[in-house]
Subunit: 407 residues, 2 copies
Amino acid sequence: DINFQRLWDSLMAMAEIGPTAGGGSCRLALTDEDDAGRRLLIEWCEALGCQWRLDPIGNLFIRREGRRNDLPPVALGSHLDTQPLGGRFDGILGVLGGLEVLRTLADAGVVTERPLELVVWTNEEGSRFAPAMVASGTYAGVFKLEDTLAIADSAGTTMGQEIERLGYRAELELGEPGLDSYFELHIEQGPVLEEQQEAIGVVTGVQGMRWFNLNISGQNSHAGPTPMRLRRDALAAAARLIDRLYAHALADTSGATRVTFGQLEIASSSRNVVPGELQLTVDLRHGDESQLDILQQLFEQEVAAIEEAFGVTTDCKQIWASPVVDFDPACIDAVDTAARQRNLPHRRMMSGAGHDAVYVSRVAPTAMIFVPCRDGISHNEAEYSSPEQCGQGVQILCDAVIAHANR
Amino acid sequence: DINFQRLWDSLMAMAEIGPTAGGGSCRLALTDEDDAGRRLLIEWCEALGCQWRLDPIGNLFIRREGRRNDLPPVALGSHLDTQPLGGRFDGILGVLGGLEVLRTLADAGVVTERPLELVVWTNEEGSRFAPAMVASGTYAGVFKLEDTLAIADSAGTTMGQEIERLGYRAELELGEPGLDSYFELHIEQGPVLEEQQEAIGVVTGVQGMRWFNLNISGQNSHAGPTPMRLRRDALAAAARLIDRLYAHALADTSGATRVTFGQLEIASSSRNVVPGELQLTVDLRHGDESQLDILQQLFEQEVAAIEEAFGVTTDCKQIWASPVVDFDPACIDAVDTAARQRNLPHRRMMSGAGHDAVYVSRVAPTAMIFVPCRDGISHNEAEYSSPEQCGQGVQILCDAVIAHANR
Ligand SMILES: NC(=O)NCCC(=O)O
Ligand SMILES: NC(=O)NCCC(=O)O
């Protein structure tokens, strides 16, 4: 059995690298803080006798040998980078949970059939270098290496420059090592498990996601003298769109339809000026690809409808699409079996958020494990899962990985 | 008859003080540019033999003597300060139109019965020092002098400090000189006259206006994993409110109901985060005070409704109320008569925007004259009224003022 206290201590130690005033962590991808976090992990793993290697995009692979080292490894892991005001668990639990699995095996003197590979994916958050999950996506062949290396942060520094600055030397070719399978433990980042008082989410796949930038152009005009019927109010148009889409998503009693308008910015706004121009971000998600198509169609119809109704013009750019992911049945079963055997209340569920597992699943059988987090809050210094919640998740990770490595 | 070309030349000369890249003007209240604009006007008026005086809040009164200088003067004017990216006409036309009236009288050697007073009100725009129209309001006793002097700009500099820095020495007590009547020419700042192909708006009063700051608090949460039914989406709540109020205003076929949401700012927004907190400005207007009460009630009901429907809390502060203004029947008639005698297509109309005339009307019989402006655009470098449109307005101003001064 894994050691809840040791796991917690390592989580809290990692949180001291890049600490924020509000009790969270700031380790933006490929900064000195991110590097320091990796070095701490490497130190801990070297103490266990593990070897480590980097691939050309800085993904870190830490190996624990098995009995059959000719077989591809069973992998486990997640990411160590954070949001600017990130928490102590998002990504980190998957990595340090993996560390705790390695330590537990070392304590028990257990050697698995297949080797194990603890993986730290570079830049999952996408906060410094957009988009998210880009290094696991590059490993999986979804993005081209040269494109990913050229992604720049807001100051113009590229991922490639930072990888060079930090002295990351690739011993692996891109796509190496090939994986037997991949297990990622993560906090849910939503409220379902907590609400249902369940300890474990057996993650069967990931919702499809589509991101859009919508520009709405009307006409600035004075709030007083301009009759309503002559206005071309970009904000009123956006409000209609948001209200319609939101109501549509709410009306789906299955709960599978998700619609979010995260950012709305009015150009040079003023209290007594009818808004003439604004930018709106749109995030559509569904667990079923054909339903996501229908949702996108509805969205496009509503955009056309506001053009008509409000005399505005629109410009809508799709900037990302991540198709629905179905995880591997055998990997899912390994997680499910572990949760049943440990008598932990659990449920099968889709992940609403993107994770490195999304892209890894394209090249290796994959599943994920979720644990509850308080109030479903994430991407926030207040992010919290208890030592017990974290420990239970790592126990399931440990059981599933061992079962899979020995199958 | 007034001289269209001379009027136009003086408008274009004034626009060269604080010129902006986009062809507008920037003369924020009580800056060096604003002061330079006043000095140019004073120079022009001194050439006509006029004397000028300041009151304690920097309002500038330029006097042309009449035959009966024991009688209170008939006043005309507006403001010379502009928005940061302001146009060449908003306010300026009323002042330089007044100058053109004085020049026309001088050319013709006409002396009116009552004296005339050309007035430049300080800080009408409210852009540097909020709220708008505050110096005419102080003159009229609506605001206390000490409060107005203490209004600070965003850098912390007060109106009082700037009045001192510019060396403005008050020769008048606050509220002096008392006015026989006041006529303000202004661009419409809306599209009605242009649309109706009318040259003159005979302004019978000003809509009532109420300004609110509305804060909506929900809960930030992740766009993916958070089910719709558990969200507390501040933007979705705002969208419902905006859509309902906008539809209500549109449904008033009289066109008298006006609702504007000019600014909406989401706190630390992110594309894949459900908005948890936002600030919204609300501007409600109506030409009938009891209807404005009903509109405000409806607004408050809809705010309560979104609390219920979206699980958000709200905090609504009323920051300004300007009651409906009815101008003086005799002054209105003077304008109407002039427009009829000049055979200019005209209509009686309410002003949708606030003007210095709103506050002056509390202490002196008042009316306003509107001229069309292209596409109804104002508070914008692109603001434009043609030399003919400007000239026709000044002609009506001239005729009404002479008639009133000689009555
Ligand atoms: N886990 C996570 O926040 N991923 C970013 C992509 C998303 O919005 O789901
Ligand atoms: N004329 C003008 O823009 N006044 C400011 C107050 C208002 O919004 O009406």
